[in-house]
Symmetry: C2
Subunit: 221 residues, 2 copies
DNA sequence: TTAAATAATGAACATTTGTTCAATAAAATT
DNA sequence: AATTTTATTGAACAAATGTTCATTATTTAA
């Protein structure tokens, strides 16, 4: 009969910790692609079988590390909401703004993951191309000296990439024409800067941190 | 003395073609991660050494396939500019809009690359998390029934991711505070919808298609 | 504190990878 | 058409991967 699994075995925790730290430290000096499982377990001082007991491949190990960063990202984003009872533009923007603090705090990690080719370059390449295209356009439009047009180009480029990602994940359930109209609507709609609403409970839909989450009242209306 | 390399050897072209087609067809049924070099060359009917003569790993082969898609992306984006001499909002938006046609045209490929875990999930995960966060906010603001807030959330989420990517690639040369201010400025600045400018020459800064590119007059002022 | 449960180990194994090299085939140049 | 250049082949190789299994060590639950 299997035991009722209340907490994870400390041996597992230790092993996973050692593996995570080993990978992170190897990534400081080596390209992710070049790091072997053997490298990781050697530095972690563990048997190779132990790695394979917990993960299929190193990407899975990296994913677990990413979990922690994302948890922190969410916490950062939520933080401004803690101190107020109503939504205001101030809250909305300041929570978005907290994300930059979070990235800065985890700068080492972000650089590591983004630059170390841990992710295949496809999205980055698409992003960069779109940015170049946007930049050429903006060249002809830019007039406001307070705006950093390199940043703005990247902002616009990834915004469109975001629409595309959503579109793909929904199996192209919209037409290209509909997508285009939505984009125009996004660029034109300014209303949200003026409306005020009352704050609601905020469930956490991602299921990332199952552990500490109380069920709360999801259906608050 | 080395020969003057004017065109690529037909044998190379054939081999590369066979490898590309092989990989694409394998990706229809198999997870990218699971496809081995041996699988690829078997289906391509080539020696394994031939693969390694041209590529280091399968990601590099995929990159070359991506090149073609990106070339088409750029062409699609540029297309609206071909028929006009001045920039207007109409051009700007219609060129952005052509991107959706391009994606729809290459839907099979996009789905393949985005869903087949060809890219490690990091960017997708960050994107999705940011989207969820944006969505919760928008829940409290949405008022315009013409706007698809799922799409809009993804749009906003990736827009911020775009700023972050730019920030990282520039080695955090701005402060978090500066990033935040820029974001606010982007959300508020509406000017570009009203300004008109004259059209300029458009160089192609990516170096993607070295082959067919005539040098032209890049420095046209 | 003891017994049961289970994680980690080390060794062995077939497979796959990445690399080399001389022989052969195909293409480009003259 | 003949010759030079170069890509592909096939075979062989060490190294790394992924998997297994009985043994040992550690942790948990009673």
């Amino acid at each position: 009969m299997p035991r009722k699994t209340t907490t994870t075995d400390r041996r597992i925790q230790k092993s996973k910790m050692a593996l995570q730290e080993s990978l992170l430290s190897l990534m400081q000096t080596n390209d992710f692609k070049e790091i072997t499982i053997t490298d990781i377990v050697l530095r972690a001082n563990l048997n190779r079988g132990t790695f394979y007991k917990h993960y299929q491949y190193k990407e899975e190990l990296l994913d677990e590390i990413v979990d922690d960063v994302i948890t922190d990202l969410i916490a950062s984003y939520r933080e401004p909401y803690q101190h107020t009872d109503t939504f205001a533009l101030k809250d909305l923007t300041s929570s978005a703004i907290k994300i930059f603090d979070h990235v800065e705090k985890n700068a080492t990690f972000y650089t590591l993951v983004m630059k170390s080719r841990a992710l295949s370059g496809f999205q980055i390449r698409i992003g960069n191309e779109l940015k170049q295209l946007a930049l050429q356009d903006l060249d002809n439009w830019q007039s406001n000296p307070d705006i950093n047009y390199e940043l703005y180009a990247s902002y616009q480029a990834y915004a469109i990439l975001g629409m595309i990602m959503e579109w793909i994940q929904d199996d192209y359930k919209y037409t290209a024409k509909y997508m285009a109209k939505q984009l125009l609507a996004f660029l034109q709609d300014r209303r949200m800067n003026t409306v005020y609403r009352t704050k609601r409970q905020m469930p956490h839909p991602t299921g990332l941190h199952q552990e500490g989450d109380r069920p709360d009242d999801i259906h608050a209306k």
